[in-house]
């Protein structure tokens, strides 16, 4: 009896110590840090060859997140996000276009709320300690277990686990995307005076009624089969095709870190359907034609993933 109790005791404590040693907990902590911490900083964001400085202010007040993102280089643009409501203020010449958008996972809040799914498709390894934006950070590498994903390098703040830097590499170690704080400060003041857009009285403010992501309820007349493991549908958008009274559809898939859009568009008269693959910037685009529909997969994902998705639609 005593022997059995000892075994139960041992198993209990070994499981507790195992869970506390779980290296993936650092990703959970990073995901929580992006939601719970209040901070203000500037980061450099690179996509393809374009680099922009972006200012971000984030605060959590009464369990609701407030985010203001401000593009500092080139044409002004802002994002104001409160909870699940996100508005984009996009300056185009003399107009400021205000658009409502769906909530996004924008740097540094790049982790999904449930990080469990990542464990099946990425291997986690801990790297060196490095200084980023004057703060000590821990390098964490997520390496894909298959050819459907890219390598993700994260530098997490040693004190609070907030992602300070992110680099996405392909298999050949080419940089796909990167973002890195150049300065960041934790904010203790919960005042929300900053949560308003910069107003330029010389501009015309226009509310764009064409809400991005606005869905029209439809029957899904297709099946999606045999797409890469780990990816799940995270958004579905139906829009009217410009100039035609017919619908086109966009399905967004993600494995928690990478995103891919699958477009299903009817081919109009005189338009030749396209097939094959092309790379535009860091996006792979794969096209297929079936039963009057142009199917296109678009995303910063490996070509294998892009092809698999474009072939996954069946009518």
């Amino acid at each position: 009896m005593i022997y059995k109790l000892l075994i139960v005791f041992f198993l209990f404590f070994s499981s507790v110590s195992h869970s506390s040693d779980d290296p993936w907990l650092i990703i959970d902590k990073a995901a929580k840090a992006t939601k719970l911490l209040s901070y203000k900083g500037v980061f450099r964001s690179q996509h393809n060859k374009e680099i922009k400085s972006i200012e971000i202010t984030h605060s959590t007040n009464s369990e609701q997140e407030f985010v203001r993102i401000n593009v500092l280089d080139g044409s002004p643009g802002e994002v104001l996000s409160q909870g699940k409501t996100t508005y984009v203020y996009n300056t185009i010449e003399n107009d400021v276009i205000i658009q409502k958008r769906k909530q996004q996972r924008l740097f540094p809040a790049i982790f999904p709320s449930d990080t469990n799914a990542l464990r099946n498709f990425y291997r986690l390894s801990i790297g060196k300690t490095e200084r980023i934006a004057g703060r000590l950070s821990q390098l964490v590498v997520l390496s894909p277990v298959d050819d459907f994903r890219y390598f993700h390098y994260f530098w997490l703040d040693k004190k609070n686990f907030l992602p300070l830097k992110m680099v996405v590499f392909d298999k050949a170690k080419n940089i796909i995307e990167q973002a890195s704080f150049t300065q960041i400060n934790m904010v203790k003041n919960k005042n929300l005076d900053w949560f308003k857009p910069n107003v330029d009285p010389s501009k015309n403010y226009i509310f764009d009624d064409k809400i991005v992501g606005q869905g029209i309820v439809i029957n899904r007349f297709w099946d999606i089969k045999k797409f890469p493991p780990g990816f799940k549908e995270v958004a579905f958008i139906t829009k009217r095709m410009p100039g035609l009274n017919i619908l086109s559809h966009q399905l967004v898939f993600s494995d928690g870190l990478s995103y891919l859009s699958l477009f299903i568009k009817p081919i109009s008269r005189g338009q030749k359907p396209k097939i094959g693959h092309v790379k535009v910037g860091t996006n792979n685009i794969c096209a297929r034609y079936q039963d009057g529909y142009q199917i296109m997969a678009v995303g910063s994902v490996p070509i294998t993933t892009c092809n698999k998705f474009s072939e996954s639609i069946e009518f």
């Binding site: 972006i54 995307e177 857009p197 501009k203």
Partner: protein, 148 residues
């Protein structure tokens, strides 16, 4: 002046200040700015109901309601209800007419040669729609999906 207008819409001014501001504002013909501040306030407070001409927009939207081409044969499990009124039959003919007209504008039912995809075939809208809904980059997210 503009800062005061902003404070007015945020309920941060006292009675006297409001009177003075309203007086100044009417003299300086700030009507356009008023509209802008009202719009921004409504958006921030999540009270914006769309454009001012809402009824016209709704009527326009109904008229432009698009036709879905796929999926018409996808109702195998739905129960069939037979009614003898004339209006559903007329409505069905009207619907068939609309679908027929739309189908005439499409190559869906014809064999079509396909061409190899080139970079010039990729419309900007396609990339923008992707970024608007699937980007981790704030700059791409902001710039995406607006056509004049």
């Amino acid at each position: 002046m503009n800062e005061k207008l902003s404070s007015l819409f945020d309920n941060e001014l006292s009675g006297n200040e409001i009177d003075r501001l309203l007086d100044q504002s009417s003299k300086q013909k700030k009507n356009t700015h008023w509209t802008h501040y009202q719009l921004i306030r409504d958006v921030i407070q999540n009270n914006h109901l769309g454009s001012h001409n809402l009824t016209k927009n709704i009527i326009d939207a109904i008229e432009k309601e698009p036709t879905q081409l796929g999926g018409f044969g996808n109702h195998k499990n739905e129960p069939t209800v037979i009614k003898l009124q004339h209006w559903p039959i007329a409505a069905s003919f009207a619907a068939l007419f609309v679908v027929g007209l739309t189908a005439l504008n499409l190559d869906e039912f014809k064999a079509t040669d396909s061409a190899v995809l080139a970079e010039s075939d990729i419309p900007v809208d396609l990339i923008n729609d992707h970024y608007a809904n699937a980007s981790t980059n704030a700059n791409l997210f902001i710039q995406a999906s607006y056509r004049k």
